[in-house]
């Protein structure tokens, strides 16, 4: 089983030089720690920044410089600030190459639910609906099952939808999956996890072809 850091580390292998990337809150944020040396990745923060850098040094926090998670951050050389309309403009126009976000549920047709649990407090969708409706390439980073052990990879989402048929790839603690017309295609297994265990914990259609590689770190 992968740790959260390993999920992020595995997703970082999808990065290519020059990509513009939007990372959601939680595990996706950790992906920034695993950008391969020598590779330039430009992080977009949807509140209005390109070239997001690391947290500021103690004492250098600037309340006017935060990311979409409201954390104090820095900007790297070559970055830029802009308003929220342009920020979502570049997202909708497909200029952001990769979006990584968390999810409560993903359906085997790529539907995603990650913004609301009816009956509980609703915090709002923030920019998630814009991102999933627009991004060319969406990778979901999440645990394979919820706390009760129920699969989060489903034949159909049960929670309110965030976006339809948009997820391209999922990295969970158990494996890596492409969303295909035939369902979740298992690409890689986490170290020590068997195809059978994955099959047992995947409620949606699972496609397994030939030998499935075991990830190594």
């Amino acid at each position: 089983m992968l740790t959260k850091e390993q999920i992020a580390q595995r997703i970082a292998r999808e990065l290519r030089d020059g990509m513009y990337v939007n990372l959601g809150i939680g595990i996706p944020t950790l992906v920034a720690n695993y950008v391969p040396k020598g590779m330039t990745i430009i992080l977009q923060s949807e509140n209005g920044m390109l070239g997001m850098g690391p947290f500021p040094y103690e004492g250098e926090e600037d309340p006017d410089l935060i990311n979409a998670g409201k954390q104090t951050v820095t900007i790297l050389p070559g970055g830029s600030f802009f308003d929220s309309a342009m920020s979502f403009g570049m997202i909708r126009a497909g200029k952001v190459d990769l979006t990584v976000l968390g999810a409560m549920e993903v359906a085997d047709n790529g539907d995603i639910a990650n913004w609301k649990i009816p009956g509980k407090m609703v915090k709002g969708m923030g920019g998630a609906m814009d991102l999933v409706a627009s991004a060319k390439n969406i990778i979901v980073a999440m645990q394979h099952t919820d706390k009760a052990g129920n699969s989060k990879l489903l034949p159909k989402c049960t929670l309110p939808i965030t976006g339809l048929r948009c997820v391209k790839k999922i990295v969970t603690d158990l494996g890596v999956f492409d969303v295909t017309p035939h369902g979740f295609k298992l690409l890689e297994r986490a170290p020590g996890v068997t195809v059978e265990e994955i099959r047992a914990k995947t409620a949606g259609r699972l496609v397994v072809e030939g030998d499935v590689v075991e990830m190594s770190f």
Partner: protein
Amino acid sequence: MNKVFKNAEEAIHDIKDGMVLMLGGFGLCGIPENCIAALVKKGVKNLTCISNNAGVDDFGIGLMLKQRQVKKMISSYVGENAEFERQLLSGELEVELIPQGTLATRCMMAGYGIPAFYTPAGVGTEVAEGKEVRNFNGKDYLMEYAFDADFALVKAWKGDTMGNLIFKDTARNFNPLMAMAGKITVAEVEELVPAGELDPNQIHTPGIYVHRIFQGINYEKRIEQRTVRKRD
């Protein structure tokens, strides 16, 4: 021609019960602190507030919620706010949640005189209920309308006596968009300078959009998530 007001109280003197207000800011970053304080002092009620967030319990729009001045919030994310939650669950507060990009764009379109436009955000979700869905180039989009607001209250870094505004870093966010959208736009600035001091190529909001401007005071600029790294 005089757009300069003495302070927030005077700049918002004619905001009345039941009006629709836009308030700039993302989280607590770039919010019109002086205007909010003046609204709280004035005690106007039954307001509809268009703002990406609803502040926190004891700051930002949270202060107006505490006083029950807000009838309806139109936001994308209302975060952690106990008083907000209480009013929502008790039915005292009406809330319309809309995607952040749609919120931003509906402000901009008001300032651009475009009554409606199409966006993919929310297709197939609760957000699409009652909205026109239309297919362009094989993809579905929702029709969304420009906002209509009585007042827009924004916060800028620098401004001049002609109403030109410059924003700093991510405190820009919704501010220039809402500045374009208000029937009356009130801008509070950290530094008010004479006309001609700002580089005309660097102005984010041209003065034509700004009706009132004043020098803000006592900015608290509260940080929601103070995240830092250690020096090596």
